[in-house]
């Protein structure tokens, strides 16, 4: 097998490999900016310099030539090489900054150049704390600058598009953003203008950077030049707490991280998963932070008259619900499950009412045909349509559900704004006793007689099956009134969570929603009704499910965590359309 020698160690490699990626894969480091594993390699930042050469082989014998001391002779390449664009070849010798002073010097000098016109405004820059330029300057850069003349000034606070703000002075012109628009999203909206010392990325004057994937450029910009207009100046990155989760705004199930502080989700960024979304996610999914924080149903409520609701206690809500159930025969109940809710919620919901004797819950897929693209945006507006199919809820459409509602007396809806998405109208529900288990205030909760607040994806651990039949799960990121970050070992703690106390004026105990996981609420309801139904954790529900359902055999939360989701043996064609 061909061999390379990196920092005096021998490694074997196969196929076409670039030195930088090979080194990174070995868990070692060479600083870099412009390289990105999913995009073309322009080698323009010049940061990833290494010293490289080749052991000399005798043409005829194929043996390595030796010097007088018996060491193999090396023919060094005449100049430093950019490792990102250096293809490994048999017998190549590479010295990184760890073993070569020249490489170390080259990297340091490059950084000095990159910083010449950089404003060095880290104290007010959103990127500080997660900035490759900042980190690498600390690690590999010069201690000061020898540049004493005036810096070049460039445009600041440019609204590049509706969601992205540019500070051109911070830009190091790595072209990652330009390449993203060219190669990944395909909008080709960006270019580098005024090439020379005043260069920066820009759209054509008649265009704006409204690419539906534009915010990915903020993630990959290795400096603070591109920032998210929404998130600017909201929080320092080290104050936030990062929790892995799943995008619930469409059917793709992009892997994401929720960034929280004081129990508010402040931003959402993609998490790498080569099977689903690679490094990317649509801008729409990042907007979901609003629905996790705002307009939540907090505390149960009952309808008084007209559209007026009044908050009530959990005890009273349970009592009211139980009385409604006792007053009606099981055939008079209509259960509507939800592609917007998790597998566990749907399963527990359906099982509970099955125990009461009601028939299987129905659900209506939430599709907008033609909405999707061939990338990460799907026609499916819900994260768990396939999950509902998996547990064999009864799939129906708007007409079907209207008929079913007309025939029922009590309608119980799990987390789905059926009125808002026009599968039902408020009139359809007006003559019925309607109960909504809901996360957010919607037209549907407004039309409901009893509203039970339940946890959203940012508050519970639960799984979702995406359009391709991959099951993936969330973790609780936000505390509710009834959970505690320090006691719940599933929750991550940020710096503020760990070291802050209620007595610090920068820690807030606010933003906790008065809600329960759907299954936990049903536990209480079961107690009241004397039903045999008790789930202490979504994990227990899932364990029961994986015993029952053939395609979930052997699937566990642990496997979903280790394998970044598990592909279920679901037929592809059954997946796309109802």
């Amino acid at each position: 097998m061909p061999e390379v020698f990196i920092d005096n160690e021998r490694y074997e490699f196969e196929g076409d490999q670039m030195a930088l990626q090979f080194i990174l894969d070995l868990g070692m480091e060479v600083p870099f900016f412009c390289y990105h594993p999913s995009m073309s390699i322009p080698a323009n930042c010049r940061q990833c310099m290494v010293k490289a050469g080749q052991y000399i082989k005798d043409q005829e014998t194929g043996e390595y030539e030796l010097d007088d001391d018996g060491n193999r002779k090396i023919r060094w390449f005449p100049k430093m090489q950019t490792s990102c664009a250096l293809k490994l070849s048999d017998g190549m010798v590479i010295q990184t900054q760890e073993t070569s002073e020249e490489a170390e010097r080259a990297q340091k000098d490059t950084l000095e150049f990159l910083l010449i016109n950089h404003p060095l405004d880290c104290p007010i820059c959103d990127q500080a704390g997660e900035c490759p330029l900042q980190i690498q300057t600390y690690k590999y850069g010069p201690e000061g600058s020898r540049f004493e003349v005036k810096k070049v000034h460039k445009p600041k606070r440019v609204q590049l598009g509706p969601r992205v703000t540019l500070d051109a002075e911070r830009c190091i012109n790595c072209t990652r953003c330009v390449r993203f628009a060219d190669e990944i999203s395909g909008s080709k909206q960006l270019t580098i203008v005024s090439r020379g010392d005043k260069n920066y990325p820009m759209t054509a004057p008649s265009e704006t950077f409204d690419d539906p994937y534009s915010l990915n450029t903020v993630d990959i910009c290795p400096v603070g030049a591109l920032t998210s207009t929404d998130f600017r100046f909201k929080a320092r990155v080290w104050e936030m707490n990062q929790t892995p989760s799943i995008d619930i705004t469409n059917g793709k199930g992009c892997n994401i991280d929720l960034w929280t502080r004081d129990n508010e989700v402040l931003r959402i960024t993609p998490r790498h998963n080569s099977e689903v979304n690679d490094y990317w996610m649509p801008d729409e999914g990042r907007k979901a932070f609003e629905q996790f924080n705002n307009n939540r149903v907090s505390r149960p409520s009952v309808k008084l008259d007209g559209d007026n609701h009044s908050n009530t206690s959990w005890n009273n809500a349970i009592e009211t619900f139980a009385e409604a159930l006792e007053a009606h025969a099981p055939q008079e109940l209509l259960l509507i499950g939800s592609p917007h809710a998790s597998v566990e919620e749907n399963y527990a919901f359906n099982k509970f009412f099955n125990l009461l004797g009601a028939s299987t819950a129905k659900f209506i897929p939430h599709l907008i045909s033609g909405y999707g693209d061939d990338f990460l945006i799907t026609d499916d507006q819900a994260p768990n349509t396939n999950g509902c199919r998996l547990i064999s809820l009864e799939e129906t459409d708007s007409a079907g559900i209207k008929t079913a509602v007309a025939e029922a007396e009590v309608v119980i809806i799990l987390a789905d704004d059926l009125v808002g998405r026009e599968a039902l109208s408020a009139d359809d529900l007006s003559a019925k006793y309607t109960v909504s288990l809901a996360t957010n205030k919607t037209l549907t909760t407004r039309a409901s007689d009893l509203v039970i607040p339940i946890t959203c994806v940012a508050e519970h651990a639960a799984s979702y099956v995406n359009v391709d039949g991959r099951i993936q799960r969330s973790f609780p990121a936000k505390e509710t009134k009834y959970t505690n970050r320090r006691l719940n070992l599933e929750m991550s703690e940020g710096r503020l969570d760990r070291y802050g106390t209620n007595f610090d004026n920068w820690v807030k105990e606010e933003h906790k929603i008065d809600c329960l996981p759907a299954w936990e609420f049903l536990n209480h309801l079961a107690d009241r009704l004397g039903l045999e139904f008790q789930y202490d954790h979504s994990r227990t529900i899932f364990a029961e499910l994986s015993d029952q359902i053939e395609s979930l055999r052997g699937v566990t939360y642990e496997r979903m965590d280790d394998e970044q989701g598990v592909q279920l043996p679901i037929e592809q064609n059954e997946v796309t359309q109802a």
Binding site: A181, K188, Q189, L190, T191, V193, S194, R195, G196, A204
Partner: protein
């Protein structure tokens, strides 16, 4: 100028087709087609850049990036005579800025501006490859005026006002002047 008014004539489109045929990709024809447009309109303002992009079917951003790089492409309407004064290294060392400032004083405008009578524009530009005859300037993407002095600049302006463009000069490096004489 509204965008819909802009269009290439059939003749120009034929020329663009001939240009395209010379390059492996249409994108590579950007520079040449920008010239076609600039010759037609006298500038390549954003709407003209878009026309070029749409005609070539390349991204508008790409054409904008190219046009913004070259001072030779006029991104706005310019005076009849565009004086591109080189202030790059060699010219700078030989007094390029003095020439530029003298010109600015004479014409009463700054680099990047156009005189009210629409006769002159001044641009500060990078090396035009005539370092041997620094300082120098170029007139409207055409002839060079070399080895400039303030007097030469005054003369040049006067001539241009009278509609006389400078003649093309065949230049030799100063150190080669003797040899040139000997040869001739």
């Amino acid at each position: 100028m509204a965008e819909q008014e802009l269009a290439f004539t059939q003749e120009e489109l034929d020329e663009i087709e001939r240009i395209k045929a010379k390059f492996p990709t249409d994108k590579a024809a950007t520079l040449r087609v920008l010239w076609v447009a600039q010759n037609k309109y006298g500038h390549v303002k954003p709407e003209v850049q878009n026309l070029v992009a749409d005609t070539l079917e390349v991204p508008r951003s790409h054409v904008h990036g190219v046009a913004s790089f070259y001072t030779q492409y006029y991104k706005e309407e310019m005076g009849k005579f565009v004086l591109d004064v080189c202030t790059c290294l060699s010219c700078q060392l030989c007094g390029g800025y003095e020439i530029l400032h003298h010109l600015e004083d004479e014409l009463g405008i700054k680099a990047g501006e156009t005189t009210d009578d629409g006769l002159f524009s001044i641009q500060e530009v990078e090396c035009l490859g005539a370092c041997g005859y620094a300082p120098m300037l170029q007139v409207t993407n055409g002839v060079y005026a070399n080895n400039l002095t303030k007097e030469k600049v005054d003369k040049l302006i006067e001539n241009l006002r009278n509609g006389n463009l400078p003649e093309f000069e065949s230049m030799v490096m100063r150190q080669n002047e003797k040899r040139k004489k000997a040869v001739s």
